[in-house]
Subunit: 330 residues, 2 copies
């Protein structure tokens, strides 16, 4: 089968189209004919060699997000049939059988769900990683409830734009940061109640303005680094902070003074270590229902790519100029 | 009324017996005739001037833990009557009306519960702060469930010995650290399934020995500082770490790599800021039931004190030589 393969870490042009063996079905797995994938930051990071501990071995097929059709069903798998249209986050790193940048992907059935009926394969492939990340942060770990006020950093980002919609569905009051006044309308359409331009207001200012200095019940940080300190500062007494980025040194005193709960989401753990995978398929099943009810949709980058154009897709991702998820249709 | 008062921060001998006005009853409050108090680390810290932001204003009456008899019931208070025997953590710092080192304490009724029937006032006064801290860490924030394995640091400490008993009641499998082999039997009697001498085994060793290198589902750190890094190291993938001490700089990378949830417990928040106080009375009511069912008991220091001897009680606390809670009977 045709696949985009890397045999060394490097720039976006490190991908080479190769003909590699089509995977054989295994018990508990699905063989998926891949119709689409999407680019996530972690794919670029792995390609650049910045995450060697989770990178698949060379020759490597990257990409986790996948949408496609079930070609073969492994022994013991009960919930899927040949021909089912499915989506998931199920490859491209250590612990997985292959990657989505290929004609076929062998995937643990626990990581897969039926795709939303109302979406194309490309649209569906934009969802899994960012939806799982948001769901785990807001619900599985953070236990967001109706009527909480939540500050979501980066409300138009890959994770952020899904988090805004999920928090809206849950009935929370949503505050979100963006980097430009021109983005206010777009993020309001997703469900944000109040929008903050973080370039023109500091934490103290928007906490005073929106919460009477009490802080937010829940802060979802999708940025990390210095912004994590901003998130601790913005949280209320006994509040919650969730993040997708916690690899830096921090003074924990604000967490102590406020009695905070701090949830770090590393949604790749089930893929890498083979634990708790069933939860991913279950979340994606619920998310597909929300999509078909019109409550969740991906923001897509206008420019779309084919499997042959993955180098260009990665280059666009790394340029920082893309707005919305970058998808590849095969 | 008679009270131990401080008019400046200082050594244990800074306390002076004074005659101060008996507090007048207020709506929503109870006037408690104090029969006993206990010493907590935070009382010593406030007395030394190391926590000025939460210290009451001078002249100050310290101590939070109290057990006594209801003398007067404020307007609007429905759950208490004159003569009720009660206990709570309800004074000794900014945001509270007085302190327990006096003949009478005016306390917000939300912070108070009926005392366990099976305990003396002195025994009951040993419980509130450490029981609230453990309960909030294990249940309110940490959501400990049956069959989780939990590592409790300092299983004979003020907070630790209560946490061991509460975790046992919940049905968790309990591992705990102590600093001496001579303490193994005592902490096993409280409910610990496995005891670790942290002076003779490092984290890697006991994680390998007891969890096949998987780590613990829940780690309750009651020590802070460098031990917090040990706690992150000892936690399992997607595990939970709770602590009572988080005022230092830490590399958060282990939290990221494992997807940890980290709960910081600062149980004084309701006292200081006047928020969420009702939860404290509710927890103490449940704890009193557990005590009367024989499932929870305080470890007491053999040496006990009177109100006149508070300086000696603080000196003993600061010597680090006391085993069990130090109580004062009036």
């Amino acid at each position: 089968m045709k696949a985009q393969v890397i045999r060394t870490f490097g720039d976006p042009d490190v991908f080479k189209i190769e003909d590699i063996p089509k995977p054989e079905i295994e018990p508990g797995h699905l063989l998926i004919k891949v119709h689409a994938s999407s680019v996530n930051q972690v794919d670029c990071k792995i390609r650049r060699g910045e995450a060697p501990s989770i990178a698949p071995e060379f020759p490597a097929v990257l990409h986790s997000d996948v949408a496609g059709t079930v070609e073969e069903v492994g022994e013991g798998v009960k919930d899927f049939q040949v021909g089912d249209e499915v989506y998931g986050c199920a490859g491209g790193m250590r612990g997985c059988e292959g990657g989505a940048l290929a004609e076929y992907l062998l995937a643990d059935a626990h990581l897969i769900a039926k795709k939303p009926k109302s979406l194309s394969f490309g649209e569906a492939a934009a969802l899994p990683l960012v939806t799982l990340t948001s769901w785990i942060a807001l619900f599985s770990k953070g236990s967001l409830t109706t009527n909480m006020n939540i500050l979501i950093h980066g409300g138009l980002g890959g994770v952020g734009h899904i988090a805004v919609q999920l928090a809206k569905w849950k009935g929370a009051k949503i505050y979100t940061t963006v980097g430009s006044d021109a983005s206010f309308d777009q993020v309001r359409e997703l469900g944000a109640d109040f929008v903050i331009n973080y370039k023109s207001q500091n934490v103290g200012e928007y906490v005073a303005r929106f919460t009477e200095t009490k802080g937010f019940d829940f802060v979802f940080d999708t940025v990390g680094g210095k912004n994590l300190d901003n998130s601790f500062e913005a949280a209320a007494l006994n509040g919650r902070v969730a993040t997708t980025q916690a690899r830096s040194m921090h003074d924990l005193t604000p967490l102590h003074q406020k009695g905070l709960s701090f949830h770090v989401v590393f949604m790749l753990i089930p893929l890498i270590y083979g634990v708790e995978r069933k939860g991913h398929g279950e979340i994606l099943t619920k998310a597909a229902d929300l999509v078909d009810q019109g409550k969740l949709k991906p923001l897509l980058c206008e420019e779309q790519f084919s499997l042959d154009q993955v180098s260009a897709a990665h280059a666009l991702m790394e340029s920082g100029k893309a707005r919305g998820k970058i998808i590849l249709n095969y």
